[in-house]
Amino acid sequence: MFVIYCPYCEEHREEEEFHASGQAHLARPLDPDNCTDKEWGDFLYFRKNPRGLHQELWQHTAGCRKFFNITRDTVSYKILETYKVGESPKVNLEDASHG
């Protein structure tokens, strides 16, 4: 059971209020019709499954209903940061995983 800081509500709340929505920063291709089947397949189905730091999209479903991002360690389950959609993460995955 996580305790998660909602960057919109600006409060720590129990995981029960949230819903995980998978990998963060998946941009929908701007011109889907000109994507190859492979490109579209990658967008549709291929996801990271890292051991270590991962950026995830969550929704505060039982709260403000806003989507936001989490940088989370999939081994320790520690949440390093939460940030709004459109903002950039402060934790650099490359640096953190090597440091």
Binding site: M1, F2, V3, E14, H19, S21, A27, R28, D31, P32, D33, C35, D37, W40, G41, F43, L44, L57, Q59, T61, R65, K66, F67, D73, V75, S76, Y77, K78, I79, V85, G86
Partner: protein, 1019 residues
Amino acid sequence: MVNFVKGRFVQNYRLPSGGRINRNKVLTFRYNNRYYKGYEGDTLASALLANGVDIVGRSFKYSRARGIMCAGVEEPNAIMQVGATEATQIPNVRATEQSLYDGLVCSSVKGFPSVRFDFMSLVGRVAGGAMGPGFYYKTFMFPAFMWETYEKFIRKAAGLGRSSRERDPDTYDHMHQHVDVMVVGGGASGLMAALSAARAGARVIIADEQSEMGGALLHHYKEIDNMPALDWVQQVCDELDANENVQRFTRSVVTGLHDHNFLTINERRTHHLGDAAPQGMTRERIHKVRASSVVLATGAHERPLVFGNNDLPGCMQCSAVSQYIRRYAVMPGTSLVVMTANDSGYQCAFDWFDVGREVVAIVDTRANPDGDVFVQAKERGIEVITGSAVIEARGGERVRKAVVAAINDKGTFVTGEPTELLCDTIASSGGWSPAVHLSCHTGSRPVWNDDIFGFVPGETPENNIAAGRVSGAQTLSDCLREGIKAGADAAASCATLHGQASSDSLSTPKVVDVKQGAAMAMYLVPHTKTPTRAPKQFVDMQNDVTAAALQVSTREGFESIEHVKRYTAMGFGTDQGKTGNVNGMAIVAKTLGQTIAQTGTTVFRPNYTPVTFGAVAGSNKGALFDPKRFTPMHKWHVEHGAKFENVGQWKRAWYFPREGERMQDTLNRECVATRASVGILDASTLGKIDIQGKDAREFLGRVYTNAWAKLEPGRCRYGLMCGEDGMVMDDGVTSCLAENHFLMTTTTGGAASVLSWLELYHQTEWPEMDVYFNSVTDHWATMTISGPNSRALLAKVCSDIDLDKDAFKFMDWRAGTVAGAPARVYRISFTGELSYEINVPAHYGLHVWEALFEHGREFDLTPYGTESMHVLRAEKGFVIVGQDTDGSITPIDMDHAWAVANNKPFSYIGKRGMAREDCLRPNRKQLVGLETVDPNTVLPEGAQAVRNPAQSIPMTMVGHVTSSYYSANVGRSIAMAVIRDGLNRMGESVFFPLADGSVVEAKICNTNWVDPDGARHKS
């Protein structure tokens, strides 16, 4: 022996004085159908021992007699079935943790048919030598179909406890707690931690599994601050209780330490009071604690040594012997031999000796013990045999002799001639295993510590602080000191107290530590024979895992400790190997030529001790198990005899049977009445999403497959929603309320997920769009009147809407007043008949519904439920997303090309997905109608279609039935199915081989059985 209670069953083994028991309160209890007496303050285990009961169970595999070995949570043998009535049965209760109460009824869970005579023990004796590790795997594997038979026999013979067949009369609940510092364990370290955190101003919870605080101080009498240790404990508890920021829980096991410092405490509130909880009290409570920091002061479990026949009743942990004597005034036997590899084992010999009983000898595996206790033993005149070990216990069903032999200084082989000592109790101590379990629950691995020959907690993700015995502290003063520091550090690290933690530090209470001699690493005691030939040397009592079995399994190639665990079942019991695991790891390590650190531990997972289902469920049962949602007209449905079905959390009226009707009779009547005159459906559960904003229209165009640019206010349109993969996800009618204002309806089950879907795309992909969503599902009561007389009926209750068929056309909506209530009326149809969907604010729902019935009498207004709705829509070939689709159906597959607008400028969700190669290939499964050759045969939904029923099994399946009904209106059975290339195979036959061996033939047809030209809904 002194008898205190006259009568047949006397407490022969109770000491005349001492113990933390109330001798003025005699309690009677029943064990295996015989009555015994004990005292208030006893555990079930101490009361059994006081009565001289030394066999409390039969072992799992070999059915050997087993006695009480420990005095606390780690007990592997004394596992009881407790409960005076069928309804109050609790399986697998540790007798060492069950407080005695008057009238307690219990029995051994092991042993079938009885513990004293057990026919499985014959199997054990005859086949014992052959029952190696993996015995059950190897023996009962073939033939595979027999497993279910074997399993029943094995389970019964193994005799694990059973749960009640009746409803539990007790209630249970959960509480949420938020604290700065959670202290696990109420021994010397835990008490100090709680006190120092509390003095620093922190909100604190301290929990301990025992009936009172004190931990080892409860039986290990020492002086603290110049007062008896228990007076000191009381003083600390008094201060904690006086502090409003502190909660102190006893009989409360911290069962799990989960992510982000979330802990679960299982508080046994009434197990000591009686068979069922007193009126108004919950039996157990789960505290769900969120803590800023956690102090683990969980102590350590004493590790018995592994030697031949070490499972004979009378073989015990040294510390358990002390506990029974000091805390309960019970002698576990009459003459004692102690075997120890460290100084702590001496204490039980002193306790035994000091109450005037015979200590035969202390057998010390160390050649030259040099601690203070060695001198103290000599002073008492107790014989200490150094450099030796008890290599084997002898006796039938109780220890009679200890076989002692000299060993080499590494403890690896026997060097001297074995001699026998007469005794009935052998207490052993191989050292202490810190209770690291909770520290491992969040993924941390414990670390081997060579100073104490045990694993100590590793670094945890939340930097939980270990203090006292669990961290490897060896002396009481170290435990106290670590506790104080841990409590202060925990308080200081709390964000809520940042910079405000008081500096009022505690000084370490004064205790006198004795000089300790170095301990010896000792796990498996050598025998003159090898483990496979020596008498059984048990590592895990509950699962009958022996040293030989561990060696055999490593020889058979199981080298990882996790594999060894699963092959031998070591540590799998309800005790989770609290006494045996480290011994087992040591034996495996030695066999593999590794260190214990290299071998490592198995993973400790929650829960630390078994938790009852009642506690897990709490109050989430019965009506509170899951929320129920009712429509505003629910009461009417109940009063009119409706049968209900669950649709998600909704209770929807399923059908309205009349007296004497079978279900099919009801459906026939409802469906015919609707098409003949007018029927009414409660459709309030449909998801409703209010969408506003200047980009609302453009947004609809992006999430639906069809066009929305030209939908005018006052008009409605059916919309089809796909995922990015092009598969149908939801559908519903959306109405234009005003230029920038729409009302979307979704399927009942899709309401929440569609709203999230819309939010997802708005917030993450198109945040620049000006659009807002809100669920209004519960705001509106929705009733659909359908049938040729629906206009005439509506006219009776609505005078301010022009109902003329050209003024209020099909797919129009109008605002007005229905039965005096403000209403939105949508002229849409899910039956193919002339139909109006009347929406009024929810609290007017019942009133309007009743008004319609009042005026509907002359039209034979017929209520129908979801089942008739399904039949009526199938007669028109209307799909239900989630029933006729399954996430692999595109709009084209279900023949809805008319709802796909590929000329929209924006590449709407689903467009690219539908254009994938696989979605365009021929021979996809397509939605078609089916008519069985025999019109009275109704195909089962889910039946698989084949083109040729004569082919051999496995047949090539070409699709399946998605919807199937008997239609009274059509006068035959009708079905919908997805069939490969179905749309191109109209009129062809497909076959459905059913489970009963019959084959049903059906012809592919289109799905429009009623009014194919669509004249009625436009009439």
